[in-house]
Amino acid sequence: MNKKTILVIDDDIDLVEIIRVTLENEDYEVIDAQNGERGIALAKEQNPDLILLDVMMSKVDEGFQVAYELRGSAETKEIPILMLTAVADQTGFDFNPDKDADFLPVDEFIEKPVSPRRLVDMVRKHLPTSV
């Protein structure tokens, strides 16, 4: 059976490693990118099963821009995106996927600090069931 691949786009290397340990422990394959541009390239190249995306990288809202771009591209628009947010992020966006589903290009928000159990639950919930 093929391992499911998860792309983590985050500039916090420590957090990337934490997520890698958690997800590899659950038998997922983890690839990562430290910035949005590299993340988009990797998403197109490797076609991961799910993307974990940090809302704030070097620039405010970079995560949202990456999400819009991924959703706008034919190769990547079907890949579920889970967005990592922190309560003190000043993005100007209202994090309510139910209310804003129409214009927010992500499937779920995961609030930092990321608890390993919640992360795994969310990944399972949003992974496509058939390969």
Partner: protein
């Protein structure tokens, strides 16, 4: 001076345009009284004084007063009081008109014989309170000039004299005239001087207060900027550290030594506390969005209070506390920022439970009166010492008693309560007896005020 632009233009005047307008409206009423007085006195005068006063001229003077006042009233109705300079210019114009009419009335009713001359003094006192420096003396000299001209005009026979008292000849008694004029000049100039110097002093105090307030606002702003900066910088390390330790426990938990597991669990608990502080700091420095239209919704206060009390049920059960809710039969609905109100009440309710005595009662009351709604949160716990009443609302301040009672708490809960209450235009009240409990009351006006918060009772069809 880094002054608030709202304060700066008015700082050199003692009164604001709005408060001056209240007085001006009041003077307009007085002027109606004066006009009516002149007209009535003219008609009665003949009988009371047994003198023939110049009826037609007096009626005309009275009418001039009526028309002048009608103009002032209409002007005040049409123009909102926004510009203090324009208001003061109007006051000057009104004083000029009033002094002229007063002098004419005086001339028509006996001149120097008439005690009406005291009214000049009133004008000079008023001018000394409202105007500054030269302007005060302009009014004082105008009053002196008009009165002196009237008296001297009559004495010299250039102006007609109308007797107020029968067969009185005071008008032509030079010693009397000189004495009257000398006293008049002295009183008016003295009033002008006293008023001017007192008001100069008052204005200096006021300017000082305005400066101090601006400094306090600036200091508070830079404190908030600092908190915001710290929050931003510290949140990622704290978040990541917490995730790292949790992951270590989760992934390697079973294989870890019991002592190591215990250490990691302790680290998680303390990092959770740090995360709470970061979250509270974010609330405090960013605010809650206030009463912007898109943030408002109808909130059932009774239901919200019940929900928040329910969240404390576990802690209360463990410590044998009774949680009680009193709410009117008819639901009390408030149109407000729900998230902010919830945060305010949640902080108050969780504090009440945290600092209550074992087996004590926490009582939450939702009340509605004709013009306001209030929510009262009371406990029977450690209470707040009088010297801590103000300080507990400061960031990170925790009273000694509170620290002894609980290691939990970010020290930011009440600071957030205070900030959010300001944003929502509410009033916060604290009543406490150390050792017997504390009662916090939050109160909101019922009608749509400046702040836009509106509360109302539930519509028809609601059941409690």
């Amino acid at each position: 001076m880094a002054a608030d632009p709202k304060i700066a233009p008015e700082s050199s005047h003692f009164v604001s345009a709005a408060s001056l307008r209240v007085r001006l409206d009041w003077f307009n009423k007085l002027r109606w009284g004066a006009a009516v007085g002149v007209l009535v006195a003219t008609l009665l005068g003949e009988r009371l004084l047994a003198q023939s006063l110049p009826l037609r001229s007096l009626l005309m003077a009275g009418s001039v007063l009526v028309f002048m006042n009608l103009g002032y009233v209409l002007r005040n109705l049409r123009l909102p009081p926004t510009d203090i300079v324009a208001e003061l210019r109007l006051v000057k114009l009104q004083m000029l008109g009033d002094l002229l009419v007063l002098t004419i009335l005086l001339n028509l009713t006996g001149g120097v014989e008439n005690p009406l001359l005291y009214i000049y003094v009133v004008h000079v006192i008023l001018a000394s309170l409202l105007f500054k420096g030269k302007e005060i003396y302009q009014i004082a000299w105008l009053a002196i000039g008009l009165f002196t001209a009237e008296v001297m005009g009559e004495y010299l026979g250039w102006l007609p004299h109308h007797h107020l008292l029968s067969a009185s000849d005071l008008t032509h008694q030079l010693p009397f005239i000189v004495l009257t004029l000398a006293s008049f000049w002295l009183v008016l100039l003295f009033c002008a001087y006293m008023g001017a110097s007192i008001m100069k002093h008052n204005r200096a105090i006021k300017d000082e207060l305005v400066d101090r307030q601006a400094e306090l606002i600036a200091a508070d702003r830079s404190k908030m900027d600092f908190f915001r900066f710290v929050t931003h910088e510290i949140k990622s390390p704290v978040n990541t550290a917490q995730s790292a330790v949790e992951t270590a426990l989760e992934v390697g938990g079973a294989s870890l030594d019991e002592g190591v597991q215990d250490m990691l669990s302790r680290a998680v608990r303390r990092l959770e506390q740090a995360t709470d502080i970061v979250k509270d700091l974010a609330d405090l420095t960013r605010g809650g969005g206030g009463l912007k239209q898109e943030n408002l919704s109808d909130v059932d206060l009774g239901r919200l209070a019940a929900f928040l009390l329910d969240r404390q049920k576990d802690v209360a059960d463990r410590t044998g506390q009774n949680l009680e809710l009193e709410t009117p039969q008819k639901p009390v609905i408030m149109h407000t920022n729900q998230a902010m109100l919830e945060k305010i009440l949640d902080n108050l309710v969780s504090n009440a439970v945290r600092y209550n005595r074992e087996g004590g009662r926490v009582l939450v009351q939702v009340r509605r009166s004709s013009d306001r709604v209030c929510i009262v949160v009371g406990d029977e716990g450690i209470g707040i010492a009088p010297e801590d009443r103000e300080r507990i609302f400061e960031e990170f301040y925790r009273s000694t008693a509170a620290q002894r009672k609980s290691t939990l708490g970010t020290g930011l809960g009440l600071a957030i309560v205070r900030r959010f209450m300001q944003e929502l235009g509410g009033h916060l009240d604290l009543d406490s007896e150390p050792g017997r409990g504390a009662t916090f009351t939050v109160e909101f006006p019922l009608t749509a005020g400046r702040n836009g918060a509106v509360a109302s009772t539930g519509g028809k069809g609601h059941d409690g």
